[in-house]
Each structure stands twice: as structure tokens, then as C-alpha cells.
């Protein structure tokens, strides 16, 4: 952390679709950098001191909840954990995450997309007995390694960075995208989920599913939780290829 104060130059995408006649534009704001400043801190500073209409989404401000993904100098990333000091020339350009419905300025509707994704991949344990389980008794055992492996894929925070970085998704609007594949891989690995490979095939066995992936791996490059997209997509493909 340097003690020298410098003035950061933020170029921010502004557009409020709710406001009649409003047009998309880039607006520049200057902010005096403070030590340890993150983009979360800077944007709040701009909102409080300069423009109270500026829209953006932060919840945990700790890189945990996945609310704040946006495009920072061309790269999709979690804004709350991005320190302004990492930008040497002090120029920071912010755009909303592409591929999602725009709410306004830097705020996009990832929630709607993710709920639809969860419904599409049926993101839950499929087991007729899950609701009948007698919870007074010892829980079903699970291999400790399997539990750890499931957690590795469960770490996805639905931030949408992988979706915005995906070239296939840009060409195929209904492409399930990496976040959906990660979710499927998570349930496919879980012994509690009784779905058969055929049932998984129904969900992802076409070009909007795992066979549409062009393996450009923008997803893996930008995932803030370092999920293993490449290996898991390859794994799902092999699994699905065996079906037909």
C-alpha cells in the first residue's frame, strides 16, 4: 500500500432503462485513492459524493456472495475484492457484465438467470426418499473424500463471470454455460443424487448443452473461485458421449 495520494479516473457505463429518454454513455469520475481502496469503496464514494443515482450491486463486499461481478478494464471479475492499487496508471473502466439483463448502470439481473439455470438443470438431490428420511437416526455415511470433492464444485457463487466470458454463449443464447455444467457435474458426482446418466443426458446432451462447448475456456480463466471447468466439462462430455 502506497501512502501517496493519487487521483483515480473511473470511466463508468451509465444507462438507466427505467428512465425515459436515457441513453447509454460513458461518464468519467475522479476519486482520490485511499489506502486499501477497493472498487466497492470507490463506487460508494462516487455515489455518496458525486452521483447518488449510480447503480451497482454489492452484498457481502468480501468476495463470497457473487453479487458484484462486472467488467473491469476488459476483464470480468468480482469488483468488491479488486484493489484500485493494482491499476498502475490509475485508470479504471467499468462495464456491466454482458450476457445478462441490464437493470441499470453496473447492475445486471444475474438472479433471474441463475434461478432459470437451477430450474433447467434441476439443481437438487433427486431421491424420492430425501423427504422421508428419518432424521432421528444416524445420517447416511459418505466417503470423506467424496464430500470434499463435491464441495470443490459447490464453491461456485453464481457470479456469472464464466457466462459473460463465454464465446459460445454469445452465439447461442440458450447455451447452458459453464455455471450450469459445474452444477450438473456437482450433482452427477453426488451419490445422494439418484439420477441416471440418461436423465442427465436429457438435460445437457445437445448443442445447447455440453456438446455445444467450443472449449475456449474463457470460463476457467475468469472464474473467481477457480472451479475446474476444463476437466469437469471434459468429464461430462465423455460421460454423455457414452450414452448415444
Amino acid at each position: 500500500m502506497s501512502d501517496q495520494e493519487r487521483v483515480l479516473k473511473f470511466q463508468i457505463f451509465r444507462y438507466n432503462p427505467q428512465k425515459q429518454g436515457d441513453k447509454p454513455r460513458m461518464v468519467t469520475y475522479e476519486v482520490t485513492e485511499a489506502p486499501g481502496m477497493t472498487i466497492f469503496i470507490a463506487l460508494n464514494d462516487i455515489r455518496e459524493q458525486q452521483d447518488p443515482s449510480l447503480q451497482f450491486d454489492f452484498v457481502c463486499r468480501a468476495g463470497i456472495c457473487g453479487s458484484c461481478a462486472m467488467v473491469v478494464n476488459g476483464q470480468p471479475t468480482l469488483a468488491c475484492r479488486t484493489m484500485t492499487s493494482t491499476f498502475e496508471d490509475g485508470e479504471i473502466k467499468l462495464l456491466p457484465l454482458p450476457g445478462f439483463e441490464l437493470i441499470g448502470d453496473l447492475s445486471v439481473n444475474t438472479g433471474k438467470f441463475m434461478r432459470a439455470m437451477s430450474e433447467r438443470v434441476e439443481s437438487w438431490i433427486h431421491d424420492k426418499n430425501a423427504d422421508e428420511v428419518n432424521f432421528e437416526k444416524l445420517e447416511e455415511r459418505m466417503d470423506p473424500d467424496v464430500a470434499d470433492e463435491i464441495y470443490e464444485l459447490e464453491r461456485c457463487v453464481e457470479c456469472g463471470a464464466c457466462v459473460s466470458a463465454c464465446a459460445t454463449k454469445r452465439m447461442r443464447p440458450d447455451f447452458l454455460s459453464a455455471v450450469g455444467f459445474m452444477r450438473l457435474a456437482r450433482f452427477a458426482m453426488d451419490p445422494r443424487d439418484k439420477r441416471s446418466d440418461e436423465e442427465f443426458y436429457e438435460i445437457m446432451g445437445d448443442d445447447d448443452g455440453v456438446f455445444g462447448c467450443m472449449t475456449l475456456l474463457g470460463c476457467e480463466d475468469y472464474c473467481p473461485k477457480d472451479l475446474p471447468h476444463q476437466t469437469q466439462i471434459a468429464y461430462l462430455r465423455r460421460k454423455m458421449a457414452l450414452i448415444k
Partner: protein
């Protein structure tokens, strides 16, 4: 006027809200969940450490059961909790965790055989039993006699919330996101839903329901620095307060967590110390054993936070441009352990501090963390004064935490309360019809519309962001870890002034749709009222109990203060809330007040305490053959929904 009807309206899409919604849906009632943000982004996702349930599968949890968990919870609360509720909670928590396990949470599991752990700064080998292999494991947490905190690596809240939301999606429960409840609708002492603002379009919608549950989380953001999410602003509590009928309980009970990073206040989990991490001062000296030779770093949270503050006051903190701090040392746990079980902590250190906690110490300081206070409810979760209004989770003062909650007991509370309160919500839907007049709904709608119009037309006035900052500063400086009469009186007076100023907020951005400044203008007056409840309650409570520590009244005073603060705000133009008190009845306690075992015991005892102790002895003598279940039935018969009455199985002892 747009009206949406449902049976069960749940305000809040965190763990507690979703679990209540699942319960009412399972019982066949139409259910809608409202949330400021997508449900999976609720603050519950940030819980790292884990959930307490006395499964006793790990060898270090051997011998654990409901009784031990109950004792820890009551002692942790400094006897401020409702023991009926604590009882319902400890008996149900094992069921809650097992249900979540069936629904998909990948709880970390016991691995049979030897493993190396760090206890009291030393590496030791423990041997897990063969028959426990594959069962849910647990880690050590502060203020507990056994290792009882079940976890998934350090993402327990995340995996629990994802599982819960996935379950809700499976059941087709609608979650209306980006909606903010800004007022409750009520008539003749019965609540019928809420007036809700769409945060995108700005439209006001009346959600009219038989039962309304507030599960909006805590009010940590009354403080400038908090571990809480930025949306933990207590609006759910405030709209209950603003009915003038519902009461808030123990609002002054605010917990400070020992280890948030400096300066931003992001939490590093108690799991760091549970797994063996140490607290060091500016000389690299481990000071906690000097203050608490028995529990050391793993004393109860309120105790550790105060000891740290005391130590810094002695000049032992490390100075920094953000004030003094201490160090959390987890280097002794080793890279493998940290990268697996404390990975979020590692990420937080890397991104926000630019350090690797495997190699370097973490700068930490006690920071606002948890709201024990909230909407006062009966054990059923219903407000004792406003019918049809329920509350669960951090928003509620169901009151299993009293004046200090144990780590791991909060996410546990959210799901257990969700299960139990959810059943009572469903019962309520079964027993009650929707009898609210349209004119009442209209009146509430008009009142909220007018408030917003007033804000949009006022030319000059106060800046809501500035008012909030001033309030947060007062709370930080004067209503913090250590409190005293003089500061609290000042805080109360200063907040009164802010309350008046908040009536004259004017906007620079005057549009009614999606508008962050308008959101702030709606929330800030509500937040200031809550801050007043906290400060005023703290000023009047002239004792120290749990997290409420008065320098001018250092003793816990059971004789005069074994009671719960109840706050109402009947007259909106008043500049202070009204406070009354509800006695805790020692003669009904399963565990009568005693020393918590920290520092010197200077408790001023209540005359009933020895009476009850003797009575319990007599009951025990009169029933020599009674097992622990029968004894509990004699000492503390509790209401609990039929579904959850069964005993819990454990390895090595079956259902005993």
C-alpha cells in the same frame, strides 16, 4: 393498487426465511418469499465456520449430547436466554443437520484413524473411531465443551444456503427478488402482510397474507464497521417497530467478533482459533492464557473481544494508520490445512490484505458481528403482541442467545427456527382466515406513497448518506464493546437530533424508479430509530451481561436485571422509544444462574437462585431412576411440534 395475495408471506430469503417457506409449502400453503437480493446472495452465504449440532461423531465430540449443548448455550447467553427455546433448539439441531444432509449439504466427514490437529498451540494426534467413519464431523469453537461445530471446509453457510434455496426451487416456491418490504399491514392487532417496493421499477405492491414472517437478518450496519453484509440494515426489525404494536427484545445485545481484519472489518472465522490459531500482541506474545487460563483463545466471543480490547488499552496493540490491532496467527496450522479447511480465509487475506496467512500473521480487531436482539417472539415464533406476525433467524429475538450467542449457534438457529416456527406458521394458516378490509390495505399503501412523494418533491434538506454516516459513527464511538453511562447518554441525545433531521431528507436524484438515493432515504430514518433502541436500552441497563459490558456497572446483576428489554415505538412523532421489561423466571429454569467461569465472578445473585437450586436437587432426589429425558421433562417441559419430538441417535450409545 397492485395487490398480491398469498397464505404465507416470508420476508427474507436467507436460511431462516427459506426454511420457514419450505415448511409452509410442505403443509400445502401458498407461499411467497421476498428478498432484497437473489436468495443465494443473502448474508447467510457468508457464514464460514459451521453449525452446532451435538452429533458426537468425532472423537473430540465423544459424550456430547443435548444436555451439554444446552449448558453451553445457556452459559454462553450469560443466563439471558429463554431456556425453553434453548431446549427446543438443542433437541432439534441434530435433526436439522441430518435433514440438510439428506437434502444435499456436503458436510465434511469423519475419517477413521489418526490425524494431526493443533490444540493449545501444540500438535497432537487424535484417533477417530472406525465406526464413525463417514459420519458428519465437527470442529472446536469458542465457549463449547465439545467439538460440536459441523462444517463444510469453511463454506458452511454457502453450502447450507445453496441447498436450502435449491430445495425451495425444487418445490416451486417463488422468490420475488429485488423487493423491499417497507411497512407492515395490520388491523385490530393482526398483521396481514406488507407494503413492498420494487427496487427496479419503484412500484409499490401490497402483499396480503394470512401469516407474515420476518426473516430479514441482523442490524449490524448500524455500526460503521461490521462483519455483516451491506444489506444487514435491520429494516425488517424497523417495520415491526413502526407498527407500534410489535415489540423488539434486547436490542442492546450486540455481539463483537474477535477477529475481523483491519481496516475493512471482513471476518476471519472462529474456525481459525477453533482449529488451533492463536492471538498475539505487538511483541508476538500470546496473551489470552494470562487473562483466561482455562479457555484461552476459545473463551466465549464476548469475553475474547473484551480481553483483546483491554490488552490494546494497555498499549500492547500494534499501531497502524487505522488504529491499534492485534495479530491472528494461523501459520502453525500449516499450508495443507489452511488451503483445505480455511480457504476463504486465505482468499480474503490475499485479496484484501495482500498477505499469505500461511506465512504471515493476520491483523485483526474485535468488530460488530451479530444482533442478539430483534423482534420479540413467543417460542412459536409469533409476536406476543401482533397476531399473525412471526419472525425467525437473526431478525428475531426468539431468544436462545440471550446476551451472547455462541459461534455456530446462529446458522443452527436459522434452520431449527425455520423448522419449528414454520410448523406454527402453517398451523396459523390453517386456523385463520384472511379478514382484512381493502380500505386498510389502501390506507397503508397511501401512507407509504405519500412518504415517497414527499421525498421526491422536497427541494432542500438533509443528505441521507451523511445522516447514516453520522449515526454509524455515534454507534461506533459510544455504543461499542465497552460502554459507560456518559457516552451512552450522549449517544441517546445525539441520535434524537438525527431522528429529527431524518424527517427532512431531500434528494438530488428525484426519480421514483430504481434509485439508490431513494432507497437510502427510505431506510435511514428507520435505521436511526433502531439505533435509538440499541443506545437507549444500553443506557438504561445498568449491569454487564454477555456482550453488554458497562464499565460503570461491571457486575452481572441477576437481582435487578435478570430480565429482557422490550421496546415499542407507539407514537411516531415521539423522539424516543418506550422500554419495558419482562422478568426471566428463575423458578422455571432448568439451569439456574451461576458463574460462566470467566475472570472474577462478581455476580449479584437473585434470591430465587438458591431456592431453585434446592428445588432441582429435591426433584432429582425424588426421581432417582429418571434418565436425562425424564429429568428434562420434570425440570423444563417444553412445547415442540410433534414431528420433532423424537430422540436423536448417536454412535456408541444409540438413542440414550
Amino acid at each position: 393498487m397492485k395487490i398480491i395475495y398469498t397464505d404465507s408471506l416470508v420476508i427474507g430469503g436467507g436460511l431462516a426465511g427459506l426454511r420457514v417457506a419450505i415448511a409452509s409449502m410442505q403443509r400445502g400453503y401458498d407461499t411467497i418469499v421476498l428478498s432484497l437480493v437473489p436468495a443465494k446472495r443473502s448474508h447467510s452465504a457468508a457464514a464460514q465456520g459451521g453449525m452446532q449440532a451435538s452429533l458426537g461423531a468425532t472423537i473430540k465430540g465423544d459424550g456430547d449430547d443435548e444436555e451439554v449443548h444446552f449448558g453451553d448455550t445457556v452459559r454462553g447467553s450469560d443466563w439471558g436466554c429463554d431456556q425453553d427455546v434453548a431446549r427446543m433448539f438443542v433437541n432439534t439441531s441434530p435433526k436439522a443437520i441430518r435433514q440438510l444432509s439428506a437434502w444435499g449439504v456436503p458436510w465434511s466427514r469423519v475419517r477413521a484413524g489418526d490425524r494431526e490437529v493443533v490444540i493449545n498451540g501444540e500438535k497432537v494426534t487424535i484417533t477417530e473411531k472406525q465406526e464413525a467413519h463417514g459420519l458428519i464431523t465437527a470442529r472446536d469453537f469458542g465457549g463449547t465443551k465439545k467439538w460440536r461445530t459441523c462444517y463444510t471446509s469453511d463454506g458452511a453457510g454457502h453450502t447450507m444456503l445453496y441447498t436450502m434455496d435449491n430445495k425451495a426451487i425444487q418445490m416451486g416456491i417463488p422468490v420475488h427478488e429485488r423487493k423491499e418490504a417497507i411497512a407492515l399491514i395490520h388491523e385490530d392487532g393482526v398483521c396481514y402482510g406488507a407494503i413492498v417496493r420494487d427496487l427496479i421499477t419503484g412500484e409499490l405492491i401490497a402483499y396480503v397474507a394470512k401469516a407474515t414472517t420476518i426473516a430479514t437478518g441482523g442490524y449490524g450496519r448500524l455500526y460503521a464497521i461490521s462483519t455483516n453484509a451491506v444489506i444487514s440494515e435491520g429494516i425488517g426489525n424497523a417495520i415491526a417497530l413502526e407498527t407500534g404494536i410489535a415489540t423488539l427484545g434486547n436490542m442492546e445485545a450486540v455481539q463483537f467478533h474477535p477477529t475481523a481484519i483491519v481496516p475493512v472489518g471482513i471476518l476471519t472465522t472462529e474456525g481459525c482459533r477453533g482449529d488451533g490459531g492463536l492471538l498475539l500482541d505487538k511483541d508476538g506474545y500470546r496473551f489470552m492464557p494470562d487473562y483466561e487460563p482455562d479457555k484461552k483463545e476459545l473463551a466465549s466471543r464476548d469475553v475474547v473481544s473484551r480481553r483483546m480490547t483491554e490488552h490494546m488499552r494497555k498499549g500492547k496493540g500494534t499501531p497502524s494508520r487505522y488504529g491499534d490491532h492485534l495479530w491472528l496467527d494461523i501459520t502453525l496450522l500449516g499450508r495443507k490445512h489452511i488451503e483445505k479447511n480455511l480457504r476463504e480465509v486465505k482468499e480474503i487475506c490475499e485479496y484484501f490484505l495482500g498477505i499469505d496467512p500461511v506465512e504471515e500473521y493476520i491483523p485483526v480487531r474485535p468488530t460488530q458481528h451479530y444482533s442478539m436482539g430483534g423482534i420479540r417472539t413467543k417460542p412459536t415464533g409469533e409476536s406476543p403482541t401482533l397476531k399473525g406476525l412471526f419472525s425467525a433467524g437473526e431478525a428475531a429475538c426468539w431468544d436462545m442467545h440471550g446476551f451472547n450467542r455462541l459461534g455456530g449457534n446462529s446458522v443452527a438457529e436459522t434452520v431449527v427456527a425455520g423448522m419449528i416456527v414454520g410448523e406454527y406458521v402453517a398451523d396459523y394458516c390453517a386456523e385463520n382466515a384472511l379478514n382484512v378490509s381493502t380500505s386498510t390495505i389502501q390506507d397503508f399503501m397511501k401512507r407509504e406513497e405519500k412518504k415517497i412523494t414527499d421525498l421526491l418533491v422536497r427541494d432542500f434538506g438533509e443528505n441521507p448518506f451523511r445522516l447514516k454516516a453520522e449515526m454509524q459513527k455515534i454507534m461506533m464511538d459510544k455504543v461499542g464493546i465497552f460502554r459507560n453511562g456518559e457516552d451512552l447518554e450522549q449517544a441517546v441525545e445525539e441520535l434524537k437530533v438525527l431522528n429529527q433531521r431524518a424527517k427532512r431528507i431531500a434528494l438530488r436524484n428525484r426519480i421514483s424508479s430504481s434509485n439508490p438515493e431513494l432507497v437510502e432515504a427510505i431506510r435511514v430514518p428507520k435505521m436511526i430509530k433502531l439505533a435509538q433502541c440499541v443506545a437507549y436500552g444500553a443506557m438504561l441497563r445498568t449491569e454487564s451481561r454477555g456482550a453488554h459490558a458497562r464499565e460503570d456497572y461491571p457486575e452481572r446483576n441477576d437481582r435487578d436485571w435478570l430480565k429482557r428489554t422490550l421496546t415499542t415505538w407507539k407514537d411516531d412523532s415521539a423522539d424516543l422509544p418506550e422500554l419495558t421489561y419482562e422478568d426471566l423466571n428463575i423458578m422455571k429454569m432448568e439451569l439456574p444462574p451461576a458463574s460462566r467461569g470467566y475472570g472474577v465472578d462478581n455476580t449479584v445473585h437473585h434470591p430465587d437462585t438458591p431456592k431453585r437450586e434446592q428445588e432441582i436437587e429435591e426433584i432429582k432426589k425424588a426421581n432417582p431412576g429418571a434418565d436425562r429425558f425424564e429429568l428434562q421433562q420434570l425440570l423444563n417441559p417444553i412445547p415442540i411440534p410433534e414431528k420433532f419430538k423424537g430422540k436423536n441417535e448417536r454412535i456408541g450409545r444409540g438413542f440414550k
